[in-house]
């Protein structure tokens, strides 16, 4: 299990254990954490699972595909550490990961 801390836009923190193999998005959705909609269920088709990866974790979460990059390019409130959480696979190496959520996914 990897402990991941999801921080809502209003500062509410949710620290949960996520099974390696799931995506960071799936970890949030299965625990009903508000702020990640993930309407397409992880098909990289909707950009409603946008998160900001904590600076300390940017390298470990890997690089973006061209698809993810294009999708994010049009999302609201994009920052250099923006990612689509459906595209980050949870591994043991991500134990301790912190992600923050934007104000809105739409």
């Amino acid at each position: 299990m990897a402990k991941i801390t999801y921080i809502e836009h209003d500062g509410t923190e949710h620290a949960i254990d996520v099974k390696p193999g799931l995506s960071v998005m799936e970890g949030a959705v299965k625990s009903n954490i508000p702020g990640i909609d993930a309407d397409c269920g992880g098909a990289c088709a909707c950009a409603t699972c946008h998160v900001y990866v904590d600076e300390a974790w940017r390298d470990k979460t890997g690089s973006m595909s061209a698809m993810e990059e294009s999708m994010l390019d049009f999302a609201e409130q994009v920052e250099p550490n923006s990612r689509l959480s459906c595209q980050i696979k949870v591994t043991d190496a991500l134990d301790g990961l912190i992600v923050r959520m934007p104000e809105s996914q739409h």
């Binding site: 009903n32 309407d39 269920g41 992880g42 990289c44 088709a45 999708m71 390019d73 049009f74 739409h106």
Partner: protein, 400 residues
């Protein structure tokens, strides 16, 4: 809630997120908790996603959040006067607020042999499991209907090593939902991967041997031999319960922008609804997951006493082979169609315009066109056609 599919599961989750504290009961005919249907024709069918990936929430979620899941149970009737629901099993259930999320069922063909073993539809996880068990190397699949479901299943069947033939009544695939450019593109992409097509073909019946399907008989007399058939010819809303209770229905249950039916204490969401489409000034039955999820939020907000969510531009997606197709908007009142990019590179988008405003976009491996298009559809801006048609100008610039 009557129905325990994707929409109902999300409505329950949203209600808890929004602070609704009352008891929630989900009544579902299927034996399993809410799950996602889109992968059933795509990643799941190809074996790239497991059950866990389909499940919306772990089973413990429902008990932890005071959501009573009653599975394998059917709602038989709504007594609106008494605020009670009659169930196929157990006592009547009293309600203050009801959400109908009964979905739709696959249309079946009323032709000879339709009940033969091996003539299948795809809607539920059980349907998908039965279909998957029949696909594999050397198996011959006949798909009736060249819509998105049919094409997705044909692509998945090829990935599993099965042969696939798509039989379509119209002269082109996706005839009801897409324009000629897309139809031509998908047909040739599938053909290059071994799928064959019978277009403009009428089906007169299924022929069998020992009670099992062995072929599809066409109107011109030919028999297309096969081992399994998928009938993908559309869906019928499960609106009978609402109809019998006297709620306003036409094809589907009519709802407003808060997903409320003609009875203020009854909401309806998902494929069973005929809903307002604010950008297009009409009612429509989108039959899409994003629409169901938007309505789940609308209903949950209304019930929890929160302002409704911002109105979304309708959208949907389809995965076939290595293609990601994304659709935004609806091609209503179109007076001009414009193609950006080259279908030959499998990277293009078809824009549908009305008086210079984008009504809809169908994007193939073109996420920027989808995302930029979706924003422009919502903005109702008149766009510069020549810039939109020029792929050397980025979508970011076009949308700016």
């Amino acid at each position: 809630m009557v129905g325990a599919g994707h929409g109902a599961g999300m409505a329950a989750a949203n209600l808890r997120q929004y602070g609704f504290a009352g008891p929630i009961t989900l009544i579902g005919e299927e034996p399993i908790p809410p799950y996602q249907r889109p992968p059933l024709s795509k990643a799941w069918l190809k074996g790239e996603a497991d059950e866990d990936a389909l499940t919306l929430k772990p089973e413990s979620f429902y008990a932890e959040h005071g959501i009573d899941l009653r599975l394998g149970v059917r709602a038989e009737a709504i007594d609106r006067g008494a605020g009670r629901l009659r169930l196929s099993k157990g006592d009547d259930l009293a309600y203050d607020i009801l959400i109908l999320a009964t979905g739709a069922r696959p249309r079946r063909l009323d032709i000879e042999g339709a009940n033969l073993e091996g003539v299948r539809v795809l809607r539920s996880a059980a349907d998908a499991e039965a279909l998957k068990a029949e696909l594999g190397p050397g198996r011959r699949l006949a798909v009736i209907g060249g819509g998105y479901i049919g094409l997705e299943v044909a692509a998945s069947a090829r990935a599993l090593g099965a042969d696939a033939v798509v039989i379509e009544r119209e002269a082109r695939v996706l005839a009801r939902v897409a324009n000629q450019t897309l139809s031509d593109f998908f047909k040739s992409y599938h053909e290059a991967r071994g799928v064959t097509f019978e277009l403009g073909a009428e089906i007169t019946g299924f022929e069998g041997a020992n009670g099992r399907v062995a072929g599809v008989r066409l109107g011109d007399g030919r028999l297309i031999a096969c081992d399994v058939v998928l009938v993908g010819v559309g869906a019928i809303p499960n609106d009978e319960l609402a109809r019998e209770a006297g709620l306003d229905c036409t094809t589907g249950v009519i709802v407003d922008e808060a997903a409320r039916t003609s009875d203020a204490s009854i909401f309806a969401i998902g494929d069973v609804t005929l809903r307002p489409m604010p950008l297009y000034n009409r009612l429509f039955r989108p039959e899409s997951v994003p629409s169901a999820l938007e309505q789940a939020k609308q209903a949950a907000c209304a019930i929890a006493g929160r302002p409704g969510p911002p109105s979304e531009v309708p959208w949907n997606w389809s995965d076939q082979y290595d293609l990601k197709m994304q659709l935004a908007g609806l091609p209503f009142d179109v007076d001009e169609v414009l193609v950006r990019g080259d279908p030959a590179n499998a990277h293009f988008a078809v824009f549908h315009l009305n008086q210079g405003m984008i009504q809809a976009v169908e994007a193939v491996n073109a996420p920027a066109e989808f995302m930029g298009g979706r924003q422009l559809i919502g903005s109702r801006r008149v766009i510069a056609r020549e810039r939109l048609a020029d792929p050397s100008i980025s979508m970011k610039e076009v949308a700016a």
